[in-house]
């Protein structure tokens, strides 16, 4: 069978990758169709440029550093990548079948794995071209300062991996489904389910699962002296217990871990300023998502009377800073990233199973050639 990926000798391995390279070259020549492609890339470049310009004013970058700008551009590349990539990769295999070039490739000495991997790498490289086009603006943001090497390295790497996952899902679905239009739409739906569906699910599920929380409030009264003399004293009032319901987002924070934007934000090392506020968009999103891990306080006691200090309680309000929340929560990005990588690998694997020849089963209504 031609599905075996296991290659015994180094010569076989060289042969295997030579074939994959051949398919990559063929695929890039096929799909990256000259003028239209460069126009698209040019439009993308202009849009990122405009976004950068707006961010320049919006984040007051000259004073506050390029962190906000850098992280927003990275997100923007992921957004446009997930808008463009499915259209370019979602018909890689079934589109070839429609135009009648799949079978003529399969009767050659190219194996199904070489074919699918070649198409995947080509789709990934195509998506990475967007990252490359955004590079000047990313560099500009870095030059503005306050962007750590860790943030640059991790976010770029994770973005590249996420673009690869989108390419793998697109190519995989194009091998699984017969009709190019359907596989492109399905790819969009999968990407949308991860990017938009997860926050919706998170929000709705959290709101649907309410817990009853009690808040006990012990107030104080100012008792005037009975005979009207000046001076009086604070007395404690009877505790007032109020019940109300709170949404339990903490049950569902794992859903958000599957969101590619969250993965990207959570993976970047958090950088905070002196007040404990995040320096970039990554940090804000990561803090937001991580704070969802903590259950709401179900039995809060507000005891104004406890120490008899009354309203003059000198103790400061101990609000947690964003940095403190970030640090006492668990990171989730590697779970999300692993899920994504498994999803992409699974799609490719399934595509190979479906595309392999000599074919045992054919999807109804399809032809091999």
């Amino acid at each position: 069978m031609s599905t075996t990926l296991t290659t015994q000798t180094a010569a076989d391995r060289t042969e295997f990758w030579a074939g994959v390279r051949l398919i990559i070259g063929l695929e890039l020549r096929q799909r990256v169709r000259g003028v239209a492609w460069y126009v698209l890339l040019g439009v993308f470049f202009v849009i990122v440029g405009l976004v950068t310009l707006l961010l320049w004013f919006a984040t007051n970058a000259i004073d506050s550093g390029g962190g906000g700008m850098f992280s927003t551009i990275i997100f923007f590349v992921l957004l446009l990548g997930s808008l463009v990539s499915p259209a370019l990769s979602g018909n890689a295999i079934n589109g070839d079948r429609e135009t009648g070039v799949l079978a003529t490739t399969q009767v050659t000495l190219i194996s199904t794995w070489q074919l699918v991997l070649g198409k995947f790498v080509a789709a990934w490289l195509t998506a990475l071209a967007f990252l490359a086009a955004a590079l000047p603006f990313l560099l500009f943001a870095v030059v503005l300062g306050q962007v750590s090497i860790g943030t640059i390295a991790v976010s770029t790497l994770v973005l590249a991996l996420e673009l690869g996952v989108i390419a793998a899902i697109g190519v995989g679905l194009s091998g699984i489904q017969t009709r190019p239009l359907f596989s492109i739409v399905t790819t969009y739906l999968v990407i949308a389910a991860l990017s938009v569906g997860t926050p919706i699910l998170f929000g709705l599920a959290g709101l649907a699962t309410q817990s009853t929380a009690t808040s006990t409030s012990i107030d104080y009264n100012w008792d005037e002296q009975a005979n009207g003399e000046t001076g009086g004293q604070w007395t404690c009032a009877a505790p007032v217990v109020t019940e109300y319901s709170v949404p339990r987002f903490d049950y569902y924070w794992g859903v958000l871990a599957a969101n590619p934007y969250v993965v990207l934000a959570d993976a970047a090392p958090g950088t905070f300023d002196d007040n404990g506020n995040p320096r970039d968009l990554f940090g804000w999103i990561a803090v937001g998502v991580r704070s969802a891990q903590h259950p709401p306080e179900l039995n809060s006691v507000y005891d104004a009377c406890a120490d008899g200090l009354g309203p003059n309680d000198p103790r400061p309000n101990d609000y947690e800073t964003a940095e403190q929340i970030y640090n006492r929560s668990v990171p989730s990005w590697f779970v999300g990233l692993t899920v994504h990588l498994l999803l992409g690998a699974g799609a490719l694997f399934w595509a190979v199973r479906r595309t392999d020849t000599p074919a045992k089963r054919l999807p109804t209504g399809s032809r091999v050639a």
Binding site: L26, R29, V101, A103, T108, L109, I110, A359, V368
Partner: protein
């Protein structure tokens, strides 16, 4: 060696595309695969081309099993599909060369072979054109060039002549004969039966997924066959036919002349002599259809009738 198929079947769900196909194509010969639309020719060729697994039966291509030794078969087999696809943005030259590279040819060897094939298929003038601007006939030639790129020992051609102009057909015929002369085993499917008559050494008839047995073919070939007769004067011809005592059911008069049915050539020759003797000035006398077409039509007569397939005649159903 060559192609050897025994008892192969393949169904798609409830549709039995190929029920029972057996054939042999020895090296150095051309066999025509003949059958009506939907008779399973293309499905059979897909199984031979290592793209589809048979449900039952065995296939040997150049001595190898397409399922167990897929790579060995692919290295020795060239397939020209009935669906014409070409990478649209590549030029003709690039398309052939890329195919060669997909067969693991080194760059230079692929380039050299490409120039050869461009010349053989008459595409040299179009070598720099993108494949999407090619006409149907030109695509057909490109498809043939791709099938030949690795100099295969077994060649499968699915409707190679459709869309070709007469000159290109003659070229194709010459090329196929030459390849066979060099030892290639060639299986050609076609509807253009007159053409296969000239090109093929042998024919395999297929209908409703079953290849006809030798006895069936012999019986079909010995059935009554029509001969076209023309004379200078149609009225004289008609009276001459009546005079020599041809049975009425074997005679069909039309505005050109007459169609007479004979069991064999001897009977036809005898009738010609008697017609001339009866005073008809015969200007044209010959079989109305070629041998293959006659066999094809006769074998399919049973299938096309609304009644069920005949069960007599051995391994038919």
């Amino acid at each position: 060696m060559g192609i050897s198929v025994t008892g192969v079947s393949r169904s798609f769900g409830a549709v039995h595309a190929v029920r029972d196909a057996s054939l042999e194509v020895p090296p150095g010969s051309v066999t025509g695969l003949i059958g009506p639309n939907g008779s399973g020719k293309t499905t059979l060729l897909l199984m031979l081309a290592t793209l589809l697994q048979p449900d039952a039966g065995s296939i040997r291509i150049a001595g190898f099993d397409p399922i167990d030794d897929t790579t060995q078969v692919r290295a020795r087999m060239g397939w020209m599909p009935d669906v014409l696809g070409a990478w649209p943005t590549l030029t003709v030259r690039q398309a052939i060369e890329t195919t060669g590279r997909l067969y693991r040819m080194p760059q230079q060897q692929a380039a050299r072979r490409t120039e050869e094939l461009l010349a053989i298929t008459g595409l040299t003038a179009l070598a720099g054109q993108p494949t999407r601007v090619l006409s149907r006939g030109q695509k057909q030639r490109l498809s043939l060039a791709r099938a030949l790129v690795h100099d295969p020992a077994v060649l499968l051609l699915d409707e190679p002549a459709s869309g070709l102009d007469p000159a290109a057909r003659a070229d194709l015929r010459a090329l196929v004969r030459r390849l066979a002369g060099e030892g290639t085993a060639i299986l050609v499917s076609s509807h253009v039966l007159s053409e296969l008559d000239e090109m093929a050494d042998a024919a395999v008839y297929m209908s409703a997924g079953v290849t006809a047995s030798a006895e069936q073919v012999a019986r079909a070939q010995s059935s009554l066959r029509q001969w076209r007769v023309r004379a200078l004067d149609r009225a004289v011809l008609a009276s001459a036919i009546a005079a020599i005592g041809m049975p009425a059911e074997r005679v069909a008069l039309d505005n050109v002349g007459a169609l007479l049915s004979f069991a064999d050539e001897a009977e036809a020759a005898a009738a010609l002599g008697r017609l001339v003797g009866a005073g008809a000035a015969i200007s044209d006398f010959g079989p109305a259809v070629g041998v293959m077409e006659h066999t094809f039509l006769d074998l399919n007569r049973d299938v096309n009738r609304p009644q069920p397939l005949p069960t007599e005649g051995g391994g038919a159903a």
